[in-house]
Symmetry: C2
Subunit: 704 residues, 2 copies
């Protein structure tokens, strides 16, 4: 075994060096330090996976591996090369425009569940996957023991639902798939790593195994702890992890023994980390433990001397990744899991659930979201919820109380919450995650990275805008629409009443992708009937009948959420003076209803957009993009397509006339730095209330 592994390590080093030199860029030294660690994991019989079904539903029983240090991609590709899954020819396409072997792995690489490359995110994805595995196993228990579980919940009156035991006794422990995460030492400076570390120990994720490649050197300098493995050990143990120290991370025997040791953990109910002392650039003397080589390939003229140091390479040697031990596990259970995870939501069943909201009732959209999530929970077991310790404000608590095993309290750690949800989605679950809209900015990098993992995430931000009132600006989501719009293939929904909030939540569950739902703290009256239909890219036109009209040229007011109600108030008020305005509810903020906007501007040459958001990047600018027709191509959704059809796509539809019918465009939004105050005072202060709208319309009339 050791001889074989040695040979494999040699070939992998050869691959790393040659592929990066060929690419002319990349991170060979970072890859070289983890060769022994990962070769032993892959080919020493520890990592078990069916390479024919690397991702998706069929892969539940596979172990998973996440390269959190995504810049070690030359090592990843080399491992799959020596496993026979990548041809030598493909290996040499590293970083080329037509290759799926990118500089940092994305969803395009078929063996990567999540994209990595922004450091410190991999462990959170691992937490999500480990929770997903546990829950999948638990689902059976849920079905067979639902009454038993219910009574447990009832007896346990504590609100600490997250503390309920998540035992997995039904499933043989030795067959529970493991999640392996390779961590770099530099990235352990990221707070998100410690968010994941604390949550993993809180949830007792004993099938989560991290491997820390402690090579001492970052990109530009030494890490804070260097090779101080003792301190790393202390920190992880203080955070409730089991640690295994490998004082030489290039000694195959020691590494092998460490992996053997990880297998004796079932009773400990702790996550495990292997802390390995390694050498950056290991194997090539002029790279070893040297600064100045990070992210640099060996120049062509030095490659031969580097390769020479490897000694004789056996180009024919191949390693075998063992398949999962299916025999040991309950085949019927596996079948059940497959069926369940493949099943699509029975929406007919969902639609029978009455929303039970009456027109005129004052209900916050966040509350209706909570109701919808609760209702969805009954329909589809794949729906799970996560919250950043705000569940009694976002109303995810309704779901949490009824489905405690499918609710994950993520505490005040938004970054980890987002990537954990991504991990759960990669195990076939449909995660809804919520906190205040303002605090989602904490996880922008995690949301940004998720787009490169073909995500299925439903993100819900409550307490948007100045209309939250007295808590003040720190709690107001005022950049959130801009943030989610900037993500290329996102969908943004922004309901104005309980009915639309309920139905848009259902739409999110139905559709794959990265979704953002913006909800309000403030109550608003129900304006839509139970039968009203909503869809992605839709809108609702609100008109009033006026007999004697003052104006020929009408005004179109575009709004959503709280400001929709201000627009409707203004409409009613103006109608009294015979002034007609059309109000458009753009509840689908992205994609926005271009067709209806363009139709309405035939008759409405004055446009007002009014939104509870800062000026840049919000609904106002999106409407401008529609009016300029520059938005046309942006409605095509590409995230989940495997490959882009055409590298030389022509600019076919992007040239078009600006809409010259428009004579006035006014954008009412949050233009003063907000402060504490009552919701109505603040809407007035920011000039996004009915009065401000009426003022503008009156100015339009005076203009004539």
């Amino acid at each position: 075994m050791e001889d074989k592994l040695k040979k494999l390590c040699k070939l992998i080093r050869y691959d790393i060096l040659t592929s990066t030199t060929e690419a002319g860029s990349g991170h060979p030294t970072t890859s070289l330090s983890a060769v022994e660690l990962m070769t032993t994991l892959f080919f020493g019989g520890f990592f078990k996976a069916d390479l024919d079904h690397p991702k998706g539903v069929q892969s539940f029983i596979n172990d998973r591996v996440i390269f959190s240090k995504g810049h070690a991609s030359p090592l990843i590709y080399a491992l799959y090369h020596v496993a026979g899954a990548i041809s030598p020819k493909e290996l040499m396409t590293l970083r080329k425009i037509d290759s799926d072997l990118e500089g940092h792995p994305t969803f395009r690489f078929k063996y990567a569940d999540v994209a990595t490359g922004s450091l410190g995110q991999g462990l959170s994805a691992g937490v999500g996957m480990a929770l997903g595995i546990r829950l999948t196993i638990e689902n059976r228990m849920w079905k067979v023991g639902v009454e038993d579980r219910k009574s447990k919940v009832e007896k346990n009156q504590s609100s600490n639902l997250n503390h309920l035991p998540l035992s997995s006794t039904v499933y043989p422990q030795s067959s529970v798939p493991n999640i392996f995460v390779l961590l770099g030492d530099s990235e352990m400076a990221e707070g998100q790593v410690w968010e994941a570390v604390q949550i993993a120990s809180h949830y007792k994720l004993n099938n989560l195994i991290a491997i820390a490649d402690i090579n001492r050197l970052g990109q530009s300098t030494e890490t804070m702890l260097g090779w101080d493995l003792k301190t790393y050990k202390m920190r992880f143990e203080a955070f409730g992890w089991r640690t295994i120290v490998v004082d030489d991370g290039h000694d195959l025997k020691k590494i092998f023994n460490a992996y053997v040791e990880t297998q004796n953990f079932a009773s400990l109910q702790k996550p495990t980390i292997i802390l390995a002392h390694t050498i950056k650039g290991k194997g090539v003397s002029f790279l070893e433990n040297k600064e100045g080589w990070h992210g640099k390939p060996v120049p062509k003229d030095m490659l031969q001397s580097a390769l020479k140091e490897l000694g004789k390479v056996d180009f024919k040697v191949r390693g075998k990744i063992l398949p999962p031990k299916i025999k040991e596990i309950d085949r019927n259970l596996l079948k059940l899991i497959e069926i369940k995870q493949k099943a699509t939501t029975n929406f007919n069943e969902f639609q029978r659930i009455s929303t039970n909201f009456k027109k005129g009732d004052l209900i916050a959209t966040r509350l209706a979201y909570g109701d919808a999530l609760l209702a969805l929970g009954d329909v589809d077991e794949k729906i799970v919820a996560l919250d950043g310790e705000m569940s009694n404000s976002t109303y995810s608590e309704k779901f949490a109380k009824k489905f405690p095993s499918r609710y994950f309290e993520m505490f005040i750690a938004e970054q980890n919450m987002i990537t954990t949800a991504l991990g759960l989605s990669k195990m076939g679950f449909i995660p809804f995650l919520s906190t205040f809209a303002a605090f989602l900015t904490r996880g922008f990098d995690q949301i940004r990275m998720a787009q490169y993992s073909a995500p299925n995430l439903k993100i819900v931000g409550s307490h948007c805008g100045v209309s939250i009132g007295p808590d003040g600006p720190s709690q107001m989501g005022l950049e959130d629409i801009s943030m989610f719009r900037s993500i290329l293939n996102s969908t943004i929904l922004y309901p104005s009443d309980a009915v639309s909030a309920f139905k848009l939540t259902q739409i999110m569950a139905k559709n794959d992708g990265l979704f953002y739902l913006r909800t309000n703290r403030k109550t608003t009256p129900v304006i839509y009937g139970e039968k009203e239909e909503f869809h992605i890219g839709g809108s609702k036109v609100h008109k009033v009948n006026i007999v004697s009209k003052v104006l020929k040229v009408k005004t179109l007011i575009i709004a959503a959420g709280v400001t929709l109600h201000e627009a409707l108030k203004a409409q009613k008020e103006l109608a009294k003076s015979g002034i007609e305005v059309v109000v458009l509810d753009v509840y689908s903020v992205k994609p926005i209803d271009q067709v209806t906007i363009n139709q309405l501007t035939h008759n409405c040459h004055n446009i007002i957009v009014v939104e509870d958001h800062y000026p840049a990047g919000g609904i106002g600018e999106e409407v401008l993009a529609v009016l300029s027709k520059s938005e046309a191509r942006n409605t095509k959704y590409e995230t989940n397509s495997k490959r882009f059809e055409n590298l030389n796509l022509k600019n076919s539809k992007i040239v078009s006339n600006f809409d010259i019918r428009i004579s006035n465009f006014v954008h009412l939004c949050v233009r003063h730095l907000p402060r504490s105050g009552s919701p109505d005072e603040l809407l007035h202060y920011e000039e996004i209330d009915a009065e401000a709208i009426i003022n503008v319309v009156e100015r339009f009339i005076a203009q004539k």
Copy 2:
């Protein structure tokens, strides 16, 4: 003393309960748990500050206090009330629209250095202030011992400049101001807290003292650790802190002794944390240790029974915050510090420094930024630099090598870096902080919060756009312009060549506020001469002379950075066929040069915006806002104004005609999810290269 403190605690409890009930919202229970901890700090003789000079330059010798748990604002205001700094009448204006006593403190509260309310940020601000204090003291050493220091640097050949000893032996240790940070236990789940914890111990910040109010309860549930102080202690000690455990955080004697103990730390060179077991809602039996009361005031009809539990309150008792011990310290030094911190940069001196870039030279803007920062370092000692362990990519390493004591390696922990820089700015320094543009998204919440602290931050993001090439999408800043535009009073600069990068860096140093500079990885030719002038809100028009023109209606191409060069290439190529286009370099992305854009559209009715950024929220939409005239009011900068003049500001200038001269508007930007590839291949793939521009112009012509 104990009796006096007891009386003060009673009055403070009274204030907390009455002010929140009067406001109808707020967080009394969170405030009540820390009453004894903070009353002892303020009035037990430990916190020393001159309340007449609470912020700014004169306040260097003040201790500072940061309420990281910003929702405990009723406690903050009550403390200053009993200190005589807030009138009883003002106290009762809590959360009202015309009050500076906001729901969570912002820059408007005169005793708050930084806004808090998004949890887990206060300790990082404290790290910045503690570093600022040390550096201020060191500055003297720097002046008197510059030669000595230089030789130290030369002898120490290690690149670990951050490991240089930052001794403060010149300054009497007992007079070094302390930074106190009140931490909530819930917020310790935030990764940023652990980023700050590790950096504080790395930099041996022995004047940083955290006080943890461990009341067990979060907003909706119990924290992960509850009252497990032993584990908190273990974690902080593993991270290199000294811990002092107070097993009853309401026992004044025990708290007093803990603060006395903090004073014996000089030799330890460690930050200190007081871990106190407290009770949420302490003092009112029906609130104590109860769930369901977070963020809720006592209802009016229950207030009397709550107040009754406090017993007899002495409304006349007042506490005294001791002034700093000026006598003990070197008065001349203090004078020197004042003069230095008040001094403005000598820009004449700076402008004498030749940029030394020749037209046509291929230089990356990130490199020119590094040169400019280096040059600035000589001119103004207040300039400091921070980097997220990317200094050899962002080129802040040039500054780091020459001014090691003014460079702070922040390692891969962007959130902490941003708030630490904010803290440094609050001690009078001018912080420049840099990392990859993509990774700045990691700190969006911190940037968002900074805007409520009247910030002076110069944020630099390198490696923007697809033009970085083979590293792939995870490393590409494609949402950064959108992110910084969405911050209300930000300024965004985006140079296209070395000269503009150099000069725009200088402009950032000169001007106060929140700045973002976007730099490129890719080299670009120098196109501007040494004498060229740049300014905020400016632009550069590039024209070519063409004798026989094909078109009467010209095209305006708006670009910046890498795409400016593509536009210039297209311009040159089109000129050969007699097609005239005007190219506008909008190096000042925000505020953008509205005047010039509006002038140019008199003759250019076709507009192309081309940018290396995703479609939403970037330059394209900003230009649309200009064309629609809806942007008019957004150029007014308000951040640093103390109060807004007028709550009923009328919509004076916002109604105006849409620019109906425009016949075509095309927005070329990153519309396909990017991948690895060469920079030129990717510019082509995304259709933002010269060829794509030429295609569009040719289509304009064919249209006629």
